[in-house]
Each structure stands twice: as C-alpha cells, then as structure tokens.
C-alpha cells in the first residue's frame, strides 16, 4: 500500500517535471498568460506607472508577444528581475521570454544556452558624472570610484577599459539601478556606468538632470535584445518574428493609425502577408493569421513605441541614431516577410 503510494507520488512528480520542458507555446496558451522578465524599474524601458501598469520600451515588446500569441496585449505577467537573477529565472522557466536591456554576447548565446531573437536597441556603455566633478573624458577617471551593476557586461567592459588604459579604479558593486542611483547621488561613487540608454533613462529621473554629464566615450558595443531559452526553436521563432514584425511595420509604414485600414487589404503584398490577408505566415508559426496585426496594435510599430517610451519627445530624449531604419541611415534591417 505504502509503497504504491510512494511510487504513485514519484510518477506524478516525474510527469509534472517532464511537462515543464514541453513546448513553451503550449504552456503559454494553457496558462493564458505570458510570463515576461523585465527590469526592476528603469523608467522608459520597463517600470510600473502611477496605476501599477508596466510601461516602457521593453515592456511594450512583452505586450506585443502576448498579443501575437494570445490575442490580448494585457495577458502578460511582468516579472521584475535584477541583472543577477535574470538568467537563472529564464533558464529555470520562470519566465517565457526575457526583455530586459540584455546584451547579446557570444558566451550568453553559446555557453549560457540562450537564444537571442534579435536586437531592439543598439547601444554602448557610457559614463555619467556630476558636472562639478570636472571630468570631461573617461580617461581622466584614474582612481575614481565607479558604481556598476553586478552580473552585467558592464562590469567586464569596465575592467577591460581601465586595464587597456592602464588606470585604476575602485568598483562599487550594486544590485539594482535604484541602489546605484542612491549611491551615485550621495557621492558614494564618483561616476555611474552602464548602457548609455540606461544612463539617459536614469538621469531623466534626477531632480536636476542638467547637473550631470554623460562622458563622450562609449566603451563597448551593447546590442540589447529579447531572448528565450535554448531548445525550443518554435518559441524562439515566435519571439524573433514578433520583434521583426514591429520593425517591419515601421519600414512598411504600418502604424496603429492606419493598421485597420491596411488589414482590410492593401496593394503591397508584403503588408498583406505581414497582416495575414495573404499567405499563411501565422499558421507556419502556429499562431492565428492576424498575429502580427495584434502585435502591432498592442503599442504601435517599432518607431511608435520608441517615440512614446524613450524618444526625443520624452524626458529620456534618446535620438534614433543607429536605431533608425536602414533606409534612414540606421542599421535596423529585418529579413523579408515571405
């Protein structure tokens, strides 16, 4: 009796453990919700607004995926993760996709066994210092105390940069951006370093942003993008092509204003394929025909999301720069929808 019970319990446990590694798409559909890993709060990228609704550039991508998969941009559970916990959470299937200004690197892709599905922001690492510190270049930072988030590419780049320039520094490791902000503002560190976009976003929340300068040096390449676990290529395709759909929509002139009209049929076959009125791209992904339409309607195309969350008209004020469409002198260039 007892033994059968134990064996039974073991079988149940083994089966449920087995189920966890099945297709992510089925899990998400069964759950009716997308678990999306985001920042612990970086205004403009992902942070809860006054009503507790997560908003931002990275959060918008989560909503687009939820809309593509489930047809509902609000069917997202946002899971705030620190730079330190994000990879473990993704590997342990606590989140389905990680959209958290994460740099695509060789070792994360190959050794940590993740699958980056594209780049949604081409960035680089910069330094921010109070104006009254009187530094105008990162090369003058010999002996400075530098706040860095642990578990990032930032801390590795920093070590490389100071070593290459043969100057010394004192790192102050911190876990979240908020902590770094406190230490930096209190002068417990001289400079703060992270992705330039993150610096702009952080500075925008300061009482007096003009009292701080971002030094001219950009010391690394930081292609930031969403990622999923290795081993479920179908789910990776969905995540990749949702991002591509947002970027392609901007390129093709599909906006939240004209999407209903275009979805009724247009004379551009690529728009028709994208919005599902021609061909069966949605079916190939295992989604509805209007998956991309839903994704774009969630928050607009890439350009709209950018302008709304981090663009020049927002307090963060980032220019498109490298992140403009290839036609406009940037390097956003998505493969064709066909």
């Amino acid at each position: 009796m007892k033994k059968t019970f134990i064996l039974g319990a073991l079988t149940v446990a083994a089966m449920s453990a087995g189920a966890a590694s099945a297709a992510t798409l089925d899990d998400v559909k069964a759950r009716g919700k997308l678990e999306c890993g985001v920042n612990t709060g970086l205004v403009g990228f992902a942070a809860p607004d006054a009503n507790g609704r997560w908003e931002g550039f990275d959060a918008a991508y989560c909503r687009a995926v939820a809309a593509a998969v489930l047809g509902d941009p609000d069917a997202v559970e946002f899971v705030p993760l620190t730079t330190k916990t994000r990879f473990t959470a993704l590997a342990a299937a606590e989140v389905d996709v990680l959209s958290r200004n994460t740099t695509w690197t060789f070792s994360r892709d190959v050794d940590l066994k993740f699958e980056f599905v594209g780049v949604n922001y081409y960035d680089g690492q910069g330094f921010m210092a109070p104006k009254n510190l009187g530094v105008s270049s990162a090369k003058e930072l010999d002996g400075a105390t530098v706040c860095i988030q642990t578990g990032t590419t930032t801390e590795l780049n920093l070590a490389d940069f100071f070593r290459a320039n043969n100057i010394s520094y004192e790192p102050v490791p911190i876990e979240t951006n908020a902590e770094g902000q406190t230490q930096y503002l209190a002068g417990a560190c001289d400079v703060y370093t992270t992705d330039a976009s993150g610096l702009a976003a952080t500075r925008a929340t300061f009482e007096d942003p003009s009292a701080h300068v971002i030094l001219p040096e950009i010391i690394s390449k930081e292609p930031l993008g969403p990622l999923v676990r290795h081993g479920d290529p179908e789910w990776g395709d969905i995540a990749r092509w949702t991002l591509n759909a947002l970027i392609a929509a901007e390129e093709l002139g599909v906006t939240s204003a004209n999407i209903e009209e275009l979805a009724a049929g247009s004379d551009n076959p690529e728009i028709n394929r994208l919005l599902g009125t021609e061909g069966n791209l949605g079916e190939m992904l295992g989604l509805e025909a209007d998956w991309a339409k839903n994704a774009i309607m969630a928050g607009g195309n890439y350009g709209e999301i950018f302008a709304k969350t981090i663009g020049e008209s927002t307090p963060i004020g980032l220019a498109r720069g490298l992140n403009a469409q290839w036609k406009d002198g940037g390097i956003l260039y998505v493969p064709p929808f066909r």
């Binding site: 940590l112 066994k113 105390t145 801390e155 070590a159 876990e175 406190t182 002068g187 417990a188």
Partner: protein
Amino acid sequence: MTTLTDPPKESFRLSMLIYDSRYRSMTIQIVALIAVLTLIGWLISNTAQNLADLGKQPSFSFLGESAGYDINQRLIDYENQDSHLRAAFVGLLNTLLVAFMGCIAATLVGVFVGVLRLSNNWVVARLMTIYVEMFRNVPVLLWIILVMAILIETLPAPRAFRGETPEASMMLGDSVAFTNRGFYVPEPLFSRGIGDVHLFGEAALRFDVSLDLIAVVATFIAGLLISGLITRRADRIQAATGDRPRTWHWKAAVIVIPTVAVLAILGFYLGKPELQGFNFAGGTHMRNSLIALWLALSLYTAAFIAEIVRAGILAISKGQTEAAAALGLRQRRIMSLVVLPQALRVIIPPLISQYLNLTKNSSLAIAVGYMDITGTLMGITLNQTGRELETILIGMLIYLTISLTISFVMNLYNDAVKLRER
C-alpha cells in the same frame, strides 16, 4: 514455584513485519529509508536530465578561466585576469574577515549588555532591554541596509574634503577620515621590514604572509607566556609563604618592552591617508559595505548573545554568590571564580549557534555590495558563467566547512570549561 512457561515458538510469517511490534519499527524504518533514497536519486537524475536537455553538462572547468571582473575589497592580491577560483578565494577571505570581526564584536557587546541587563540600576537595565528587543525583533537584513543608508547619506563624500575651505575635515590630527565611502585610517608600515613569504607560488590559492606581522605577534605572545609564568611563580610563593609578591610591573615589562623593541627594529610607522584625486590614498580603507555589514551583524547577534549571557548568569543559584561572599571573597572574585565558570557551561553551547548564525547571515553581504563568497562565487561568477548548480554546490560546501570548523573549535573550548564532575 514457577508456573510460567515459555510462549509457544511461533514460526515467522510475513505479516509479522507489520503486526508484530518486534519487527514493525524496523519495517517502517527500512521503507522510509528506501523512500528517501529513491527521492534523492530521483532529484539527482532529474537535475542531470534537465541540465542535459538544456545542453549544460555539469563541469567545474570554469573555475580555471579568467574571471574578468574586479573586486574592490581584497585581502590578497587579485586582478581581473585571475581565475574564478582566485576570485572565490578573495570572497572567502572576505567572508571569514567579517565573520571573525563580527563574532568578536558581538561577544563583547553581548556580554556587556547581558550583564547590564541584570543591573540594579533601573534605567540601565531598561535601556538594555530596549536594545535587545529592538535588535532581535527586526530582520538583520533591514539593519544592514539601514546602517549602510545612514553611512551613505550622513557622512561627507571625499570631495567635501577638498578646496580652500572644505566642508569636512579629517580627525585625530588629520589621520582619520570618515567619508560615505568608508573610513580611511592609518595603516601600520615598516620602513625596515623583512618582507613577505609567498605561499603556494603561482597557484590560485597563493597568498602572502607578512613576516613583520608574524615577528611582532610572536614577540607579543611570547611576552604573554612569560607573564603567565610570572603569575604561576607568584601563586607558588603565595601558597608557600602566604605573601604574594608584587608582579604587575614585571608582567608589563616582559610584554611591552620586547614588542616595542621589535617594532622599533622593523622601523614601524603609521601611513596616514591623504586626499589624492578622487579618493583618499594611503592608509587602510574600511569600506562602508564592510562597516555596515559588520556593525549590523554584530549588533543583531549581540542582542541574542546578551540573552544567553543573562540566562547563564541567572542559572547560577543565588546561594552560590552568598556562600562565596560568606567566605570573604570580593565581588569581582565571586564573578570570576564562582559564577562565570559555572555560567559558561550554560552559555557556550547556544553561543556556538549564534556564531554559526552570524557567519551564515554574513551572506546577506550582497545587499550592500560587500564582496564575500556569496557575492563573488555565487554572485558574479555564477552570473557570468551560468554555472548555477556548480557554484551553489561549492558555496554550500564552503559554508558547511566553515560552520563545522567553528563548531569543532568551540566544542573543544566547551570541553575545556565544562564542569568536571567527580
């Protein structure tokens, strides 16, 4: 006259495993053992299977790879090209440092507060009660963060020390600076030092030991031993003649003179910190993270130790004190000869677990960015290499080893002081 006969010999039946009380407990234990072993086996195979599915075979080779990150506080030389193993070792030493400092401070404060809580002075006793209740009823993590926040927000930044009319100035003859990055204090230096010995060559666990320090400490300890001999001699003379010779000046001399002499020979001087560029240079930098962690851990643990000490003293019946007083012993001698030796017996076992708690709680270090073994090996290394299982396993082993060592040493001490019954 006996009417009792042996019960009829029963043959063994399988059902007796459950219904016969002679076998039942054995049966249950074996079944339970099998169940536990199955569960463990399943956990291991499940983990291995899942890791294999992810394509991550457990491997420890990452320990030999270059770490790539810098660590601010290091007791041994380290730079970002060193291996992850070396980084873990730096972290381990930082853990041991804060645990060691914490245990000492917690014991001092704890004994002090515990004794004062028994004071006849109402105000003092109440104050100590407030201290104990305040500290042991709030999670230690909050204390750590609070102390850190106070340090960062209230103390001046190094740049406040600069300029013609600085907002802040150094203290104690310009030798100590309290900043929100930590305290800069003078460091002991030797102008005619005899150097270091390098242990373990180029290995990841290599470290340097300062011969100067060894020389000074050895001289000091030798002084202590000799002064012990002097005490012993005084005891003998007192036992034989009834007169106790005056010894304190001899004792002071054998401790102080040789130590000072060695310091002088080595050219001892204090290196003062000085403002240079962005920070103070020279001197020893006690980082704010270390201070916050150390203070919070010791004050928190001290609250528990105070209670243990109080309980230990209260466990000795008042009759003992009275009896000792009736024999004419003075108050201090009653404490040291009668009460404490017996109280220690009650105090030490729970004290051991407080030391273990403090050591384990030190793993909260990352909350203030103190780079202990949790911050290096189980923090940055884990994150940069993605080796969750391996790093956590090593980390657990390390904490286990530290804890077992502390218990072992403290148990030896306990054996030494426990009441020997005859």
